[in-house]
């Protein structure tokens, strides 16, 4: 049996999984702490991709082309997008904390439409992609793009960093406590609005990182955000809201199932994922690793 295609799909599935993880981790944190389901999360990711592309192009023109220019481009994008996240939280999201759930959903859904069209307005219809010029390497009968190792490495590093942050730092512990009881955290004298703002900015920062890291692998295209946000919902539902371990495992499940389904039933890859989501929601609505407490 020729294992080449399977190895190829495994690696592309894993790199897809890492991008999903970076996005879903932010989505899950924001929902866990703030109780806001951010429909616009993937649109912010898409925007970050375009911003990274522009900074990368600018730097390459001024300082000479080099793959390493990607690093400052990503760093700059993350910083910019975190500021944008702070502004979004301060001026829009904050107004809906006391509102009903459908209104919060609609606010972020409106942002999807607005930001999506603004991207079209600024960058046009053309897809954006950074070509780093790396040669594929031969491995287990298949040609693997070595950049996929970078993506997987980034994902694992962020997962470890998030774990350390949430379990070993003071701010992280406050965030985890806020997931369980906001009123108790507030009663202890911790300023909840500041926590909200920081968590939102952090989530957007992770999305921006995902956007930048993703760029050399696949082109950024308008409308991609809708595909991705639905898959992120799938990830957080399968893994369980607020659970980082669950999000990580579910990202890998969704990414790998997706890329293997493409081999067997190209049009139905997403249908497979929705079947898993439906099964999880019926059997364990709080997700594989979530707790019933939050349900």
């Amino acid at each position: 049996m020729d294992i080449g295609p399977y190895v190829l799909q495994l690696f592309s599935g894993l790199s897809r999984a890492m991008v999903l993880f970076l996005l879903s981790a932010g989505l899950s944190l924001i929902f866990g702490v703030m109780n806001i389901l951010n429909f616009a999360h993937a649109t912010l990711w898409l925007l970050s991709g375009y911003v990274t592309f522009s900074i990368f192009t600018f730097l390459s023109e001024r300082l000479g082309a080099s793959p390493w220019m990607l690093l400052p481009a990503i760093a700059g994008t993350v910083a910019l997008m975190m500021l944008a996240g702070l502004a979004l939280e301060r001026f829009l999201i904050r107004r809906t904390y006391e509102r009903e759930l459908p209104e919060q959903l609609l606010l972020t859904f409106a942002l999807v439409l607005i930001l999506g069209d603004l991207i079209k307005l600024v960058w046009g219809l053309e897809n954006r992609r950074i070509n780093l010029g790396v040669q594929p390497i031969e491995m287990l009968d298949s040609l693997v793009n070595p950049y996929q190792f970078v993506i997987v490495g980034t994902g694992v590093a962020v997962a470890a960093g998030l774990w350390y942050f949430l379990h070993r730092t003071r701010f992280g512990k406050i965030v985890r406590a806020a997931v369980y009881s906001r009123s108790m955290v507030s009663a202890l004298g911790i300023p909840i609005p500041a926590i909200y703002a920081m968590v939102f900015a952090m989530g957007v920062g992770l999305a921006a990182l995902a956007g930048g890291v993703f760029l050399p692998l696949l082109p950024m295209a308008l409308g991609e955000d809708l595909d991705i946000i639905v898959q992120c919902f799938a990830v957080v539902v399968i893994g369980g809201f607020g659970s980082m371990l669950g999000t990580f495992v579910a990202s890998i499940v969704v990414g790998v199932v997706y890329s293997f389904s493409i081999l067997f039933w190209p049009d139905g890859a997403l249908a497979m994922i929705f079947l898993i989501v439906i099964a999880v929601l019926i059997w364990r609505p709080w997700g594989l690793f979530g707790t019933e407490l939050r349900y």
């Binding site: 459908p102 959903l105 409106a110």
Partner: protein
């Protein structure tokens, strides 16, 4: 605002009996009857679209306004209805390429309640955000099934050439057919929302746990409403096929579901007729904005943003509030309190 209460006495009585929906529905009906008088076929087409999408949005509001659950997969039933009609059309039409009137009405009636029953069976176990996501997941699942089952549904090519019977191929005739069907459907929906069943739904929206303590079978009521809403969405979809002469998988996608949500929000989920008013505004606005710019999502997104931030009750919610304020300021008697109570708003 206070002048309106006195100026039109009968209008004021209709308002007292049926809330904001009553007078608005009457005025709207008069306007809709006159649409084909406008020059050119274009506005008749827009009017038909307003009616069909308005029916779709009103069926969505049975879930959102009355039952308090937001569905992001409601278009699945719209699309299933459209496809059911399309396939019956294809199966029943004579070699001449047209079908008889009885078969046409038969194909409108058979539709998506079965799909709604299956999907609803799973969805009603959950509420709030989980209901929203499960409905989204089912909607997308149905979309991908239709999209990729090429031998059965023709995939993304869709099904073309859905000519209605000769009598209704004329735009004006089809418009009046749609108007009759939509008004009939709206009357039935109004009866449902004013029945004890409709009030049980409001209880489920306001406090599901208390409703359960009172002995209400929560799941059965939610499922029944889900099937009813799905059936009306399917009816709207069934009209859409012959209207646009074709169906395609996009009709099942979440973009289409979003349209129902937007219309309901713009018009006001708190009034029975709100989604139809939303459809008038949304469809007309779209027809106009698309003449000048391709940035329609930016426009509608900004409108939604402003409505969520500044007018959460939608257009009718804002008007209703001002009328109430005017009336109670004018004469603070018991009759107004009764009127407010009989208005029976889905969502304050």
């Amino acid at each position: 605002m206070s002048g309106e209460g006195n100026g039109a006495g009968w209008l004021s009585r209709v308002y007292a009996r049926y809330g904001i929906s009553g007078p608005v529905a009457l005025l709207l009906l008069v306007l809709l009857l006159g649409v084909p008088l406008l020059p050119g076929e274009y506005w008749t087409h827009v009017g038909t679209e307003v009616l069909i999408l308005g029916l779709f949005a009103m069926s969505f509001n049975l879930l959102y306004g009355y039952m308090g659950q937001i569905s992001f997969g409601h278009a699945a039933f719209f699309g299933v209805g459209a496809y059911a009609t399309a396939m019956l059309f294809t199966a029943l039409k004579t070699p001449a390429g047209q079908i008889g009137i009885p078969q046409f009405f038969l194909s409108l009636l058979i539709g998506p309640p079965v799909a709604a029953l299956i999907v609803g069976f799973f969805c009603v176990r959950l509420t709030g955000i989980y209901f929203a996501m499960l409905s989204l997941a089912f909607g997308e699942l149905l979309f991908y099934i239709v999209f990729s089952w090429y031998s059965f549904t023709k995939g993304d090519d869709g099904i073309q050439g859905l000519l209605p019977p000769p009598l209704f191929q004329d735009a004006v005739n089809f418009y009046y057919l749609t108007l009759v069907i939509v008004v009939a459907a709206a009357v039935v929906m109004w009866r449902i929302t004013e029945s004890p069943f409709g009030y049980t739904l409001r209880t489920l929206r306001d406090n599901q746990r208390r409703a359960a303590f009172l002995g209400t079978n929560v799941m059965v009521h939610m499922l029944a409403n889900f099937v009813i809403a799905g059936a009306f969405a399917g009816l709207a979809g069934a009209l859409w096929g012959p209207f646009s002469r074709s169906v395609n998988p996009v009709l099942l996608g979440w973009g289409e579901s979003g349209i129902a949500v937007f219309m309901t929000l713009i018009g006001g989920a708190g009034a029975f007729i709100g989604p139809m008013i939303g459809s008038v505004i949304y469809t007309m606005l779209q027809a106009m904005v698309k003449m000048y710019t391709v940035y329609w999502p930016l426009t509608i997104g900004t409108i939604i943003l402003l409505i969520v931030l500044f007018a959460p009750g939608g257009i009718l919610g804002v008007i209703d509030k001002r009328i109430r304020a005017g009336r109670s300021g004018q004469s603070a008697n018991g009759g107004d309190a009764e009127a407010a109570a009989r208005g029976a708003e889905p969502r304050p």
